[in-house]
Subunit: 188 residues, 2 copies
């Protein structure tokens, strides 16, 4: 089994719980869990983004289009006029929620919640053209506004994640577990 | 039921913007916008919930099942063992994102983002039986766990909201605009 995070030290929602309760909430992260986590993050065309509102301090949720960079890091294209963009410039901490629902109980469908740090990609960055190309390959209509002066890219670099594969199937993932095998996928 | 906030004082994502920029982002809120906002919030079976993680301070996004109380306030049923629940007990500020995507551009589909304050509903509250009945009427399978000792209801009382009806169709809504005509709907 590849690197299992140290569950005693890892900062997870259950870190402070009595040991006896942990098995109920988090399973040991295995290859299937890692593969599902990377697929959910890598295939998503949109995600829910949680940020800290720059003005009110409230956590704020919004919907964003997402791409995936060559190293597996999610990428968003947003307007500098929008609240979530001002929030990211004020505090780079954010979270992404990926995974669609379908028929039946919404909680029976797998989803991943990744805590990330936002990196703004300026137009003079060496990463800019690669990210622009990757993003437009997935979202053709973004060509219509990607070059507007107020639009910009951010890489949202995962720090840790929680995969929920359905009832009773929760797994904690480290950043490296989440990203490693996504490499190269962004060019598709 | 929450009091109507004064819209001039309400903190919205655009409150600090120069007046000349506002027409680009926000349209005048009309009856159609109010009706769509209430429908999105009232009909949703699940939403994305943004909270402040009690341990890390990161904004955190998760998926929750939602019902709608008799006064139009969204209701969630969550486990006290889950991260989002600990977050709400530590800081009641949260946001909900409602509205499904479908074919085509995910951003072309309407969604609403409501900033809320969480109220825990204890089992000895006079509101408990009403909320339990309303929630189970929408989510039959919740009968299987609603009475587990770690599960509990919260009312997430909207303070303000942003409706995005598709490209260039954004509207700010006050709590009273959002809730008024949802009254009684929860019993359906």
């Amino acid at each position: 089994m590849a690197e299992t995070p140290n569950r005693e030290n890892a900062k997870s929602p259950t870190a402070e719980m009595p040991a006896a309760d942990k098995p109920k909430l988090l399973r040991d992260t295995d290859d299937d869990a890692r593969a599902l986590a990377r697929k959910l993050l890598g295939d998503a065309r949109h995600m829910a983004l949680a940020v800290i509102d720059a003005e009110t301090g409230f956590p704020a949720a919004s919907r964003v289009l997402t791409g995936i960079d060559a190293d597996g890091v999610p990428v968003i294209l947003v307007s500098g006029l929008a609240g979530h963009t001002k929030a990211l410039d004020s505090d780079p901490r954010c979270s992404l929620l990926a995974g669609e629902t379908g028929k039946g109980d919404p909680l029976a469908h797998p989803r991943i919640m990744a805590q990330c740090l936002a990196q703004r990609i300026t137009r003079d960055s060496e990463d800019y053209e690669r990210i622009r190309k990757i993003f437009i390959a997935r979202h053709h209509k973004a060509k219509l506004y990607v070059d507007f002066p107020d639009f910009r890219f951010y890489r949202l670099v995962p720090q840790s994640a929680l995969l929920n594969g359905g009832f009773g199937r929760a797994f904690a993932l480290s950043a490296s577990e989440l990203l490693a095998e996504n490499r190269g996928k962004g060019e598709k």
